[in-house]
Amino acid sequence: MSNRLISWFKYASPQSFYPLAGRMIPWFWALTAVFGVIGLWVSFFVAPTDFQQGEGYRIIFIHVPAAWMSMFLYVVMATWAGLGLALNTRLSGMMAQAIAPTGALMAFLSLWTGALWGKPMWGAWWVWDARLTSALILFFLYIGFIALQAAIDDARRADKAGAILALVGVVNVPIIYFSVKWWNTLHQGSTINLAKAPSMATTMLWGMLLMALAFWMYSIAVALTRVRAIILEREAHTEWVKDLNEVKA
């Protein structure tokens, strides 16, 4: 047990995590490709044409996984941030910082695809649907986190301040989601729902799950690449970074 604890803390130091991340990244890219190819094949060729919405519905294979990921990633980011505050490990803050842009991208992607889907379905690019509105506010929360970290020069302070914001955000996300839903029902919002496409075929569900897995793998690969860059930037003054082959070259 104690052995395992030690090795955990070993990998919690940026110096040991840097090469480990480097070895993991190709695997996650490979998995992204595998899941992505199969997922796209299922969603374009296997899943049946929807009898109500035609071919246009196929955008949900991007939209729904992106929306899931934007929410998951916020929780993952807040978890790392909270760990960083509680255990005072440097890597946790770097992980949170590395995840934020991908989370913001996912939130943006879900808004954009939502708009593309909304035009043929509702006849408008933007509808104040509860899900879309929540996604918009989640996007703002990501932007706030990134802006706060960017505005603070001292990296350790930026990590800690960002961590508090992420934790406050994670408490608020369910409240915001609930309040927006409440607001939506009060104002008699649209009854068509993106994720609850009527009589969703099993193959559609499979397509979505495969695409969600591809998005997961992509997010991990990108976050690890980004965290490697952050480690290099923050530890640039240390000996081990100067000794790295890629830095010498």
Partner: protein, 201 residues
């Protein structure tokens, strides 16, 4: 007795000092010296528990200050670069409010006599905004006189003071030490006080 062992401080990517030990006993004072940017203020802020040290520990009467928390803060008085004096309030209001913030009460007569002692007679009802830089520092010194603390941590207390005020402050520190108090301060001037030690960063 204040002791610190193995203190180190990192600011950004620079290590200001490392492996620093110090001890101050009753009646003693410590003069922290060093060039600009050597970490004098950082050391004082660590000793005052305003920022945590990167490594090492500060103990008060043998107990870690992080454990003592408010008991330590009650025994300690910290005066930083900024005086914590509100420009819009009068010296008298500043003094009584600072005392209330410290968890004590200060009656008006005591506050007035402290202000008079520091040459602020007739200024007690004027907003601090209208006082000169030296007079503002004097308001702070009056706070030293009224606050009962064993350990004084003073960052550049002689800045902006005229000769007379410097003497007054030296006298104040001397009587504080004579009564068994302790002091840690930074200053560019040399200080003719007994029982002093110099710590060079």
């Amino acid at each position: 007795m204040l002791t610190a062992t193995g203190l180190s401080c990192v600011r950004g990517e620079r290590r200001l000092f490392a492996g620093l030990d110090l001890a101050v006993g009753p009646g003693e004072w410590l003069h922290v010296q060093g060039e600009n940017g050597a970490g004098k203020t950082s050391l004082l802020r660590i000793l005052a528990t305003l920022s945590p040290p990167a490594e090492g520990e500060v103990r008060w009467q043998g107990e870690p200050v992080t454990v003592l928390a408010e008991d330590y803060r009650r025994a300690m008085l910290f005066l930083g670069h900024h005086g914590a004096v509100k420009e819009e309030l009068t010296p008298l209001e500043n003094l009584t409010l600072a005392a209330q913030l410290d968890g004590t009460t200060l009656d008006e007569a005591n506050a007035l006599s402290a202000l008079m002692r520091f040459g602020l007679r007739g200024r007690e009802d004027l907003a601090v905004r209208f006082l000169s830089a030296g007079q503002k520092r004097r308001v702070l010194l009056a706070r030293l006189a009224v606050r009962k603390a064993t350990l004084w941590i003073l960052d550049e207390p002689f800045t902006a003071l005229d000769v007379k005020a410097v003497d007054m402050l030296s006298g104040l520190i001397e009587s504080h030490l004579a009564a068994g108090g302790m002091a840690i301060l930074t200053s560019h001037q040399s200080m003719p006080l007994p029982n002093g030690r110099i710590l060079s960063l």
